[in-house]
Amino acid sequence: MCLAIPGRILEIRGTDPLSRTGLVSFGGAVKEIHLVCTPGARALDYILVHAGLSLAVIDPAEASRLLETLGSPEQEHD
């Protein structure tokens, strides 16, 4: 139920904050997703989607920081 998956915004539809949606690709499967809770989301952003609603714009810097930290032998597990 709390399952949420990342997808990439291909196209934004509308400008009204309440009804603005995005065409979002989930590995090739495309769905129209409500963007009301992520007003800053733009085309080509990756967002986290739950129950048809975008909950967050994924922070690419934070995402790569974790992987770089884990992948770096001199900073092992820190």
Binding site: M1, C2, L3, G52, L55, D59, L70
Partner: protein, 367 residues
């Protein structure tokens, strides 16, 4: 898929496992709060790869599982009316009520629809003005913004035929309930990543300090889960009890402010009944005054709905971390995903379904 595949990397997972093995000096019991985390742990075999000192018990974070029979029976009573189109997430249809489940009712002709998003109900209500459209609004904080926007839009658009049967729950009071149970064994938590994406983790800070329990807000992929476990264990070994954020690519301390505003506009906190745990103060959301016209419990007379006492299913104890699925004599015999006796075998996030689907028919740690 980007932001999934890289967090399923075997090399990084092995590295984290090595780190866990070299860190642990004594037995520890950790609880992953979310059912989605339970499934990730069992599906990827993480519980079997951990050193024997580390035990994972499975938490209450499956909203389908914790919704009490009383609410299932209320849903059944509403969905059985000839003037109603009843909308629900798919998992709820097979959860047994006192007499039957919603899927059986659907097979007898009731108008029950599975929706992907709560907001799909706006269209269904517009297209069916002569019918009452009711959405079964279950879920944790993760789902609350979508349900709040549904109620708000129903009111704003004058959809007088659209209402919500609200059974919303909140995670922190359930964690406190587990910690304050005399049978509690949990010493550290993997916190709910997607719940905290919405509401943040400020509320967890006093909880961690008061109960001296580490909480690491954790994602759902193997690398996330292993790093969350490592961070909890490091705190335990060092005698710390803080809130840490393993999942900063989507979780901020304050959460998603816009989503929180939607929740606050529409919902207020209330006491809520949980399967297995009973009533927990402040553990739910209900519609605020001003939304009575869209509250299914006020629109329909449900006074005649009487629920039976719970059957042999151990889901209540499993959801509290007191039992494991294979402790239940019915597990894998009388109770399977095809013929579930309780919600933890039904839901895609239920611990019993995870154990059954991944072949955990007995406790591999016992001789």
């Amino acid at each position: 898929m980007k932001y999934l595949d890289e967090y399923r990397d075997a090399g990084l997972s092995r590295k984290l496992l090595d780190g866990i093995r070299s860190l642990v000096t004594r037995p520890w019991v950790l609880m992953e709060v979310c059912g989605g985390q339970t499934h990730g742990i069992v599906r990827h075999g993480i519980d079997q790869l951990l050193p024997p000192e580390v035990e994972l018990v499975h938490g209450p974070g499956c909203p389908v599982c914790v919704t009490p029979v009383r609410m299932i029976d209320r849903a059944h009573a509403i969905a059985g009316r000839s003037d109603v189109i009843f909308c629900s997430f798919g998992d709820m249809l097979r959860v047994p009520g006192s007499e039957s489940d919603l899927l059986t009712l659907k097979s007898r002709g009731a108008a029950i629809r599975v929706v992907y998003s709560p907001l799909d109900c706006l269209r269904i209500a517009r297209e069916n003005p002569e019918r009452e459209v009711v959405f079964f609004a279950i879920g944790f904080e993760t789902t609350a913004p979508a349900n709040a926007i549904l109620a708000w839009q129903a009111r704003e658009q004058g959809l007088t035929n659209l209402s919500l049967l609200v059974a919303h729950v909140r995670v922190p009071p359930a964690m406190v309930s587990i910690l304050e149970s005399p049978d509690n064994r949990v010493q550290g938590f993997l916190g709910p990543g997607h719940v905290c994406t919405v509401v943040g983790y400020e509320e967890y800070e006093p909880l961690a300090a008061r109960h001296r329990v580490p909480v690491v807000i954790t994602g759902f992929e193997p690398v996330d889960l292993l790093q969350g476990i490592l961070l909890v264990l490091r705190q335990l070994e060092e005698g710390r009890s803080e809130v840490e954020n393993q999942y900063p690519r989507v979780v901020r301390r304050e959460g998603n402010i816009v989503a929180r505003q939607w929740i606050d506009r529409v919902f207020e906190e209330c006491d809520r009944e949980w399967r297995g745990a009973g009533w927990i103060a402040g553990s739910g959301y209900r519609l605020r005054p001003g939304f009575e016209a869209h509250d299914a419990e006020k629109r329909f007379d449900l006074s005649g709905v009487i629920s039976a006492a719970p059957g042999p299913c151990l889901s209540g104890q499993i959801l509290q971390g007191a039992k494991k699925p294979h402790d239940c004599p019915a597990f894998g015999h009388a109770c399977t995903p095809e013929h579930p006796l309780g919600p933890t075998m039904v839901s895609s996030e239920g611990a019993c379904a995870a154990y059954y689907l991944c072949g955990r028919h007995r406790d591999s740690r016992r001789p």
